[in-house]
Symmetry: C2
Subunit: 344 residues, 2 copies
DNA sequence: TGCGAAATTGAGAACGTTATCAACTGCTAA
DNA sequence: TTAGCAGTTGATAACGTTCTCAATTTCGCA
């Protein structure tokens, strides 16, 4: 069978077979125009018969580009870091970039230089930053990546404070949209069970809720607010806390669908009617949310498009960097989309 | 500031600064013993002051190994291909492997040679196969990868027919476990809403259900069975079909949690009590399933461990291949775990 | 017939690293 | 004294490709 010493066929083998120089083979492989058609055919025949394929590693080395993007995302975390959405992969593929993944596990230490060193050592041309927490340590790290190493970074979560362009969901707008919807439905005492306090997205959605409430002259003080953890547990606990604190309310804007799920479960246990006694709305349009009891109204975010845009931005930054320019890129803000179901 | 022509510092710069040869620098970088400690310190000082980092691409090229694994997974698909679980990333990292992702989108054409060519061109040392469908085209493709290209493949879904070791969930065992549990609870007319007919996992779970039913002398013919699509829609439709066909039954074993969710929703609409009139059990322990109405009993699969094992197997195969040996690796079968909640 | 331009081809260096082997130092044992 | 050996160090080739530039051939046209 195939002997263990079966060496890969290289451009040299093709050149020898076709009786031309390495350079000519290279030209044929890269579709250069300046090869006589007779020669081209001869070389192509050699390529086909030997089954030659270009070694991208060697090519990348000499061209000084890795055609690789680094992706820094959260591991177990809810926040969708894991949902390396197909927008990213599809767009990266279209640009000819491979993806190198670096996951940050919840119990890992705070990301430092070592955390991204592996990506830089493999010469990634750009980095997609998908960690949502807003630690100042991240900002310093990202700045070092862009300035010291000259590798552009695009954030897939909003992070204005760092001087990095981002592709993000309009969390503020989502908060406004969800809250206004509840108000239009005639609800007046609308509470908010937010995400964790340190999460940027959570803060923004909260701000949106508050904005819409105040705009309508409704109360949005801290007593109508409780922080959760993006999970059903937080939703359930938050709902009970608010009931105890306020006595009653007629609508819940949950920071996300899982939070809403937990909160609705608590409402069921208390014998409340949904949406009769309390209306619910979440954010995410998570799989299954259309089949909760009752089906949950929610705000959808188009993750695919966010991913697409982020990669596109990164590609432009890389291109500009290679041309020696600095580029001020406009951020991309993904518009929220209201999904109306029976819970509101 | 940093001039645009700022070249990366290479081993040459370090050698020049420290006044030694390239080779000596290389030795220090790689922690070789045979360097005098005085020299080592001098070189290390140069490395630190210049901020030198080894270019992994160049290293990989000359060593003929890419330290990269390819991951072939499903894009949008439910089946968990997306859930590039942290077991894989963590274990790959531990072995010093980077991951190159190749997603197969639902609307892509069937994977052929071109589909994996990008991975092979980048010289991946092994491939993790995470596509669940059992098309014979896959088998031929996988065989070509291993035999023609000499790149080992480990499947993260069961696929005995291909001569490739796998790390998989014991879907058959899960089916048996779920069904036996319902039987122990006194249920007798147990129907099964399976996954899509062409999915291997679905077939195996179905086989488990049938085995447990027949073992207990209960009916498990095709009238008690309907195929879904892994989603709530399929669950709802399947439930209604079975009701119409059989009149009644007292338990549902759903192919997965989302299917169960849809089926429970249908039961609610018909005014049935859960678990009073009908008991439900799913498979997956999907996020949120503990907060469905009522909380769903299910079978959990330890994805992290499956991922770990797969990478470990792949690493061993690669190691063996480099040593010129062929290795017959035992498969890894992940044991199902029963999660008891209120739906059964 | 000759000349310049265009088309075609190739030789050699380069990318940044490691592999291979030779060479140089001291030091010990005979 | 000298051979031998361990400990260090470096010169050179190699990995598989592309880049740069020069060389050769062909062609059109005066």
């Amino acid at each position: 069978m195939s002997s263990p010493s079966k060496r890969k066929v290289s451009i040299k083998d093709v050149a020898a077979t076709a009786g031309v120089s390495l350079q000519t083979v290279s030209r044929v492989v890269n579709g250069s125009e300046e090869v006589a058609s007779a020669t081209r055919e001869r070389v192509q025949a050699a390529i086909d018969s030997l089954g030659y394929r270009r070694n991208e590693l060697a090519r990348n080395l000499i061209q000084g580009r890795s055609r690789t993007l680094g992706v820094v995302c959260a591991g177990q975390d809810y926040l969708g870091g894991r949902q390396l959405n197909s927008g990213i992969t599809a767009e990266a593929e279209a640009f000819g970039y491979a993806l190198l993944i670096r996951e940050h596990q919840p119990d890992d230490p705070e990301p430092d230089d070592r955390f991204v060193q592996g990506l830089l050592d493999r010469q990634v041309e750009g980095i997609l930053w998908m960690l949502a927490e807003r630690h100042t340590a991240h900002e310093a790290l990202i700045r070092r990546i862009t300035e010291t190493h000259g590798v552009p970074v695009v954030a897939l979560v909003r992070s204005e404070s760092v001087g990095v362009p981002f592709s993000a969901f309009d969390n503020f707008g989502a908060g406004v949209m969800a809250t206004r919807h509840l108000i239009e439905r005639g609800r007046r005492r609308i509470v908010h069970i937010a995400g964790p306090e340190h999460a940027w997205d959570a803060q923004e959605r909260l701000r949106g809720w508050r904005h819409a409430m105040e705009e309508a002259g409704l109360p949005a003080d801290d007593s109508h607010l409780v922080f959760g953890n993006w999970g059903p547990e937080g939703g359930e606990a938050g709902f009970l806390t608010l009931r105890e604190r306020l006595g009653g309310f007629d609508a819940v804007f949950a920071g996300n669908d899982h939070t809403a799920l937990g909160a609705m479960s608590a409402a069921h246990k208390l014998g409340l009617q949904i949406p009769g006694d309390v209306a619910f709305i979440g954010v995410d349009d998570v799989k299954g949310s259309g089949w909760y009891v009752p089906p949950l109204s929610t705000i959808r975010r188009n993750r695919v498009e966010m991913g697409r845009q982020a990669v596109r931005m990164l590609a432009r930054l890389i291109e500009a960097g290679r041309a020696g320019q600095t580029l001020a890129l406009p951020d991309y803000l993904c518009a929220p989309e209201l999904i109306l179901r029976e819970s509101s």
